[in-house]
Symmetry: C2
Subunit: 350 residues, 2 copies
Amino acid sequence: MPKGKPPTIDDVATSAGVSKSLVSLVVRGAAQVSPERRASVLRAVAKLGYRPNAMARGLVQKRTRIAGVLVSDMNNPFFADVVAGIQAEARVQGYRVLMNTGDRVPEHEDEAVETLLQLRVAGLILGAPMMESALVVRASNEVPVVVIGRPARATSVDSVADDDAAGAFAAVQHCASLGHRRIAHIDGGEGAGAMERREGYEAAMRKLHLSGQIRVARGAFTEVGGHQGARELLDQEPRPTAIFAANDLAAIGALNAIEERGLHVPQDISLVGYDNTSLASMRHLSLTTIHQPRHDIGQMAMELLVERIEGGRVKPRRVVLAPTLVVRGTTGPPPRERTHLRRAGRGGRK
Amino acid sequence: MPKGKPPTIDDVATSAGVSKSLVSLVVRGAAQVSPERRASVLRAVAKLGYRPNAMARGLVQKRTRIAGVLVSDMNNPFFADVVAGIQAEARVQGYRVLMNTGDRVPEHEDEAVETLLQLRVAGLILGAPMMESALVVRASNEVPVVVIGRPARATSVDSVADDDAAGAFAAVQHCASLGHRRIAHIDGGEGAGAMERREGYEAAMRKLHLSGQIRVARGAFTEVGGHQGARELLDQEPRPTAIFAANDLAAIGALNAIEERGLHVPQDISLVGYDNTSLASMRHLSLTTIHQPRHDIGQMAMELLVERIEGGRVKPRRVVLAPTLVVRGTTGPPPRERTHLRRAGRGGRK
DNA sequence: GGCTGGACTTGGAACGTTCCACAGACGTTA
DNA sequence: TAACGTCTGTGGAACGTTCCAAGTCCAGCC
């Protein structure tokens, strides 16, 4: 049961027999305080259970040392490591982190960002936001903003992302090198970076002289999205022999759809994801995917933010990290060109 | 690039030619304002891009309408739905949500909670916290606290959890009814609710007259923890024929360990998880597990919080929701009692 | 013994809101 | 016409900090 009123700095001052200014100095760890006074203040702080009021502090200082973080999808373990990277760097820099999520609903994301801005956070890190970029720019008029996972266009916004074109190329080329030609893509819909991956896929197909085989199904960065996209692709004749999904979650959804059809991975169809989340490395799933340095991404995002907040940098920075292909069990050579008889046997991959 | 100073309520008042009090009324949507003034205030707000300063507001109101949420593990999709439930109810009640995570490190959790308390959030929802319960109680002296996933003892703390004993019993009984006797448990270590599930397992074993078969391996609510626990169990002679893991993540880790040994699920060994996360329902994994109503849990937690904040309730409430067994593909009858020749064949389950 | 200067300490003015008591304007009623 | 409400709108006092200029002490020095 919360007790009456939390003690204020004045209560502490009275109890310790000093001025509130001195209490403030002690609490903030200033050097110029005599040991005796410091001790007595500290004693009073402990006795009363004093906790500085961040609102009052922030109000007078007009700055916060809080980084606001928006996470677009808590279901995606991708963000767990990104946030860990953010937190690690924040700790080093003396910042605190406050998160919020919009659950992939743009309007909810707007609200989440609004909440953070009203609190006057020192800066904003947007993790693969779905919200309109006009609103991102608007936010960047108030505080420094770093976007993760989609390249920013506005000069007031920094971004950290992997090289989606390179990642997509690696995925497509891997399939092609295994002998696949009908390599399709399930895209990420409105998701951050979805366009880049789709274009990367198309460019890769062209470069590999497979322009005629380009097939893109509408999806999302979710299991459901991947499932729908895969169903669309599996209905096509001839059916693709390899699918490159926009992220691991979508790949898992696609895998479900493929197995529902009684098809097997990779015997009947190869599958590549993106992000190398903890899911992909599950031995049982063993998903071939594109690795992103998630922890580094988070850390870098925080570094960029601090550069703007404290260094006063105004020139935008676009950090692009290199993705790498991780080959696991969901890719293999394409099936021999179709025979009349449709395989109906059981027995999964591996 | 952030511009000079964000506009204040005074700027708006000047621009609209009214007093700041009136601006305050308009911004908060008060009724007693003439249409013309309201319009001109709104115009000024839009023109200047005014955004109320939540710190100043909170300072004078001495309350916040912000619920602080601690998520113990962002890797666990369990929390995605819980948070969604919290957010949904918060929206209804006119609250905003601010999250933080401690990444399963108790000290980090303490910091996260401290950050929230300094901001003077109206209440705290702790999602399966690892932190010491003494600190939870201390927090509850400041603001209402609801703990998710572990029954609270202190009278100042509410809790929402499923009935772990019932869930554990359902899991064990399911295995027993398939004919298993050597049913082992991988526990959740220090995790919230781990003890309850372990005790539930032991009680179930006793009730089913399998006291002699009780085997508990030390684990954690993570993939790594499940992996270690499973290795420990698989080294035992005779080896268990069924494993009940503390949660889905641990079950997945256990599955990896089992497959590393060349064993198959459920032919050689049955596996049950807990939480029925999105992972469990992946067709490819198809994990038998115990379902928890995650969204409801989050919603209920928020309701309890508001009851305390606004209703002034002081009597603790312990909400217990009923878990249900979800049978999928990782459980089956035990293998026939061991022959001399060890199966070495390939060919997974399904 | 007074002066200087450094080490400590302090009072009071911000910070941007909300809240509250009160002021004007205007119509209604006795 | 005076008294009285009812609407609207306003000024100024909080709220709990930090910051800044200025104050007090006291040792050391001339």
